[in-house]
């Protein structure tokens, strides 16, 4: 058991928890938080798993995770802009339930 | 194990203990105002102890200065945020103490973990 493996497992757990929340919840804000959990889990897996394989600190994957974090915050911000607009128009915090489609 | 290391360990451990005490206070105290107490006071002492404990380990003036600077900034920030939370809580007229007739146990379970920004939470 080394640090890389432990944090890879941590990432796996975060992905699982986030995925659960993303499907289970209907509140848009909660789903956005769940998406961020999946994202953080993915980043942990990226670095932990790669470094476990390479056996050394892997700067390439770390740089990619930095890119990923910035993209994730942009996605969150975009989601929040849309959600707020939705609140304003509909006064609701969730999307209407899917019909037969 | 030199004397210095023992001293350092004592400082670090007691610093961590202060954080623990502060966190317990955060959970156990009845209202926003007392919780700010627990957080700002205990944590500042805890951080101070840890900073003093860390300085001998650095052996470099520059690093020592940086650690001290961190301490100063955190003190400033926590003083400010403590003040802001209390200010806002007062503006929103958050009650000082649990209302009469509630046992402290109930209050705890209802209000547990409504942390320092509790003014944002829907009042229950």
């Amino acid at each position: 058991m080394d640090t890389n493996l432990i944090f890879t497992l941590c990432g796996v757990g975060l992905c699982g928890i986030g995925f659960f929340g993303f499907i289970y919840h209907r509140h848009l804000l909660r789903r956005l938080i769940a998406f961020n959990l999946i994202g953080n889990g993915t980043f942990l897996i990226m670095v932990g798993f790669a470094q476990r394989g390479q056996g050394v600190t892997d700067h390439v994957i770390q740089a990619l995770v930095l890119t990923g974090i910035v993209v994730a915050v942009a996605a969150t911000a975009l989601g929040l802009v849309l959600i707020r607009r939705w609140f304003q128009l509909k006064g609701s915090t969730q999307l209407p339930e899917d019909d037969a489609s | 194990m030199t004397l210095l290391m023992i001293l350092q360990s004592i400082l670090l451990i007691s610093g961590a203990l202060m954080f623990l005490v502060g966190s317990i206070g955060l959970v156990r105290f009845p209202d926003t105002y007392t919780r700010i107490h627990a957080l700002t006071k205990a944590d500042n002492v805890g951080l101070g102890l840890i900073v003093i404990g860390l300085i001998p380990a650095s052996f470099s003036v520059l690093v020592t200065l940086k650690i001290l600077l961190i301490w100063l900034l955190v003190m400033l920030a926590s003083a400010l945020s403590g003040h802001l939370v209390a200010w806002e809580a007062r503006a929103q007229q958050v009650p000082l103490k649990p209302s009469e007739g509630e046992s402290s146990k109930e209050t705890f379970s209802k209000r547990e973990l409504s942390t320092k920004e509790s003014s944002d939470e829907p009042s229950d």
């Binding site: 998406f35 994202g39 993915t42 990226m46 990619l64 890119t67 975009l78 849309l82 489609s101 | -």
Partner: protein, 487 residues
């Protein structure tokens, strides 16, 4: 070859610079600037096409660092064909939007379009798994923005649904890429293919990547986000989304599938994909038949058409290289024909809705008399979607049928034929409404002629594709990583 003459960087720089410029200059300068950009973009695509057909596939090392350390770009036949396709369709939609949108809406449309275009070109050319992720995110953001900026309730709901589905899809893709990197230590598609190793890690990675991309392509049963998004957006945006955006994730899926020879190792997965495609064809067709809004009919037709493209996967079998080649050609032709036909159909539908002022089918009564040109454009696109000769759609389905015969998978033939009946039914249903006459007073608005001509042009393109099918098929048969990896 001299780097300054290579059109590859310009295909990325022009749209990115276009995005910056159209955000900075005053509103009424944005359209002229964009028109200049569109023409240079078309020129660059043609130059690339010329170079690839004459000198073979082009490779480009970004920042002069060779893969796997740096990021490589590849312009093989397939990529070049897609660049040409997206340039033509996007230009048509851009001109349509210029005539269709108000000045203020247009001002926001241009930078979004340029980002969309840049990300599309980036994806067609990419040869790096992580670069594809960033490209996909850029595409998602631009597409979501384009859906949302109609700024009414319906489009907002659609854009939120779309954003959530797309974000989940890209995250699944990224997770797969992370696993692949951990297993093989590289992000470059070429070196991944060289050192490919079918262990559990790669299998899980492929599953995640496929799942994410299927969600982003809206393959049945992960399609629920698509109809509201494509049906609820402004007309030129609907056309862009249906014709180009979903093709991007499909294209990545295809490249992974062939270049890593997934068909060879997971044959049961190909049958599963085929089943999903069949489900999409039948369900999409059935739902299109039941819609009451014109644009929703067209949007569900997209769901069905994605099914036809997905049918390519079970037909790529290791045993028969001939059947595989036919399936590959048929699938790509299907995709091309759909891009033109669906863009044409959405634009024609948008014109009709503009005429009547109402989105539902019932109000189309009398249209065939009032707007015959538009109905003609809609019909031509319908011909290609139904797969009647002579059209690109017909040739594509013919190739897929032949491939099914050859590989002995007769059950897909049944699906193809049933799907054809359904598409014929929903196209003719729309026609039936246009031939009805009502006593109500005509209060129709007349759309600009240019709007009708653009729609007609795209529809004619999809028919024309039936006559020049040989040419794109030759294009994708040029040597390249995909051709090498085919059975």
């Amino acid at each position: 070859m001299n780097m300054i003459l290579s059109p590859i960087p310009w295909l990325l720089v022009i749209p990115l610079a276009g995005a910056v410029l159209t955000m900075l200059v005053p509103y009424h300068w944005r359209s002229p600037a964009s028109v200049v950009g569109i023409f240079t973009q078309l020129m660059a695509s043609v130059v690339l096409w010329y170079q690839v057909t004459h000198y073979g596939p082009q490779f480009y090392a970004m920042a002069d660092w060779q893969a796997p350390l740096g990021i490589a770009l590849r312009a093989d036949g397939l990529a070049t064909l897609f660049i040409l396709m997206s340039s033509l369709v996007a230009s048509a939609c851009a001109f349509y939007a210029h005539a269709y949108l108000s000045l203020q809406k247009r001002a926001h449309f241009w930078p979004l379009l340029w980002f969309l275009w840049a990300s599309l070109n980036g994806i067609w050319l990419a040869a790096d798994t992580f670069n594809l992720y960033v490209g996909l995110e850029l595409l998602t953001f631009a597409a979501v923005g384009l859906v949302a900026f109609a700024s009414d309730e319906r489009s907002l709901e659609a854009s939120i649904r779309y954003l959530y589905a797309a974000l989940l899809g890209s995250m699944a893709y990224l997770l797969g890429v992370a696993l692949l990197y951990g297993a093989q230590g590289t992000l470059s598609m070429d070196s991944l293919a060289e050192t490919w190793h079918w262990g559990p890690t790669n299998q899980v990675a492929v599953t995640l990547i496929l799942g994410g991309l299927l969600l982003k392509t809206a393959v049945f049963p992960l399609h629920t986000w698509l109809p509201p998004a494509h049906g609820g957006a402004l007309t030129p945006v609907s056309a862009l989304l249906s014709a180009l955006v979903i093709k991007a994730s499909f294209y990545i899926l295809l490249r992974f599938w062939i270049e890593f020879q997934i068909y060879q190792f997971l044959p049961s997965l190909s049958q599963l994909l085929g089943a999903l495609g069949a489900g999409a064809i039948l369900w999409g067709g059935w739902m299109a038949l039941r819609q009451t809004h014109l644009k929703m009919v067209v949007a569900y037709s997209t769901v069905a058409q994605i099914g036809y493209m997905t049918l390519m996967f079970p037909l790529l079998v290791a045993e028969s290289s001939e059947a595989s080649l036919l399936a590959y050609q048929g699938g790509i032709l299907m995709l091309l024909a759909h891009a033109f036909a669906k863009a044409g159909m959405f634009l024609a539908a948008g014109n009709l809705i503009f005429c009547t002022g109402k989105p539902d089918l019932v109000s189309l009564a009398g249209m065939s008399r009032y707007r015959p040109l538009n109905i003609f454009a809609f019909g031509l696109a319908g011909v290609s979607l139904m797969g009647l000769p002579p059209s690109g759609g017909f040739n594509a389905k013919w190739l897929l049928l032949q491939s099914s015969f050859m590989s002995g998978q007769w059950w897909w033939i049944v699906v193809l034929l049933l799907g054809n009946l359904l598409s014929a039914a929903y196209v003719f249903r729309v026609f039936a409404y246009t031939y009805q006459e009502t006593d109500a007073l005509d209060t129709y608005k007349r759309p600009k002629l240019s709007l009708e001509l653009i729609a007609l042009g795209l529809s004619v393109g999809s028919i024309l594709l039936g006559f020049i099918s040989v040419w794109p098929l030759e294009m994708i048969s040029l040597p390249g990583p995909v051709m090498e990896a085919l059975p």
